[in-house]
Symmetry: C2
Subunit: 111 residues, 2 copies
């Protein structure tokens, strides 16, 4: 038997992973301005150059609204780095699965 | 005075311009399947490799739905070539202008 301990993942790693996930904003059913402020706060607090918006179903329109309002009114140095669309399977309370469209908008801060 | 007639634009030119515009499908408030059939018909009738979906406001979600349904269920050889978002100024009946988000999805048929 090997007596060496399996090296554990250092805690810093986890914190780092969480930081990456923190640059994602999930857009839901709140008013678009809530997400605009969330985007601005994210750029200012994280120090990151990128923030990704994720949305599903009807919230897709709201994600586009939030990105456009932020870009045009508050942070004119933002560019849309990439946009991806996809389909996700969602299971409702009755156990039925249905497909819903999803979208990711990656915003990049120009230097 | 120059007796030469100013050469008129040939009619074929106009028809050609219209054909380019025909590869654009405007997504509105109809059910998504209407636009799915429109996309398929457009690819089959025009012989073009590209079809662009344009949508504004709440129809953005429907455009994503139509693109995803077409890609996953009917034409699996389609890829999303590009997605652009923007803002358009819309004037309502009372003469007030408001901004609305817009989106263009360009679908490309792989050979």
């Amino acid at each position: 038997m090997n007596k060496e301990e399996t090296p554990k993942e250092p805690k810093e790693k986890k914190i780092h992973d969480r930081k990456i996930e923190e640059n994602v904003i999930f857009v839901g059913s709140k008013p678009p301005m809530n997400y605009v402020t969330a985007i601005i706060a994210q750029f200012n607090s994280s120090g990151s150059d990128e923030v990704t918006l994720k949305a599903r179903g009807n919230a897709i329109t709201r994600a586009v609204d939030a990105a456009e309002i932020t870009r045009n009114r508050f942070m004119t140095n933002l560019v849309v780095k990439s946009i991806n669309i996809g389909t996700e399977a969602v299971t409702n309370e009755e156990g039925r699965t249905s497909n819903v469209s999803s979208m990711e908008i990656c915003l990049l801060k120009k230097k």
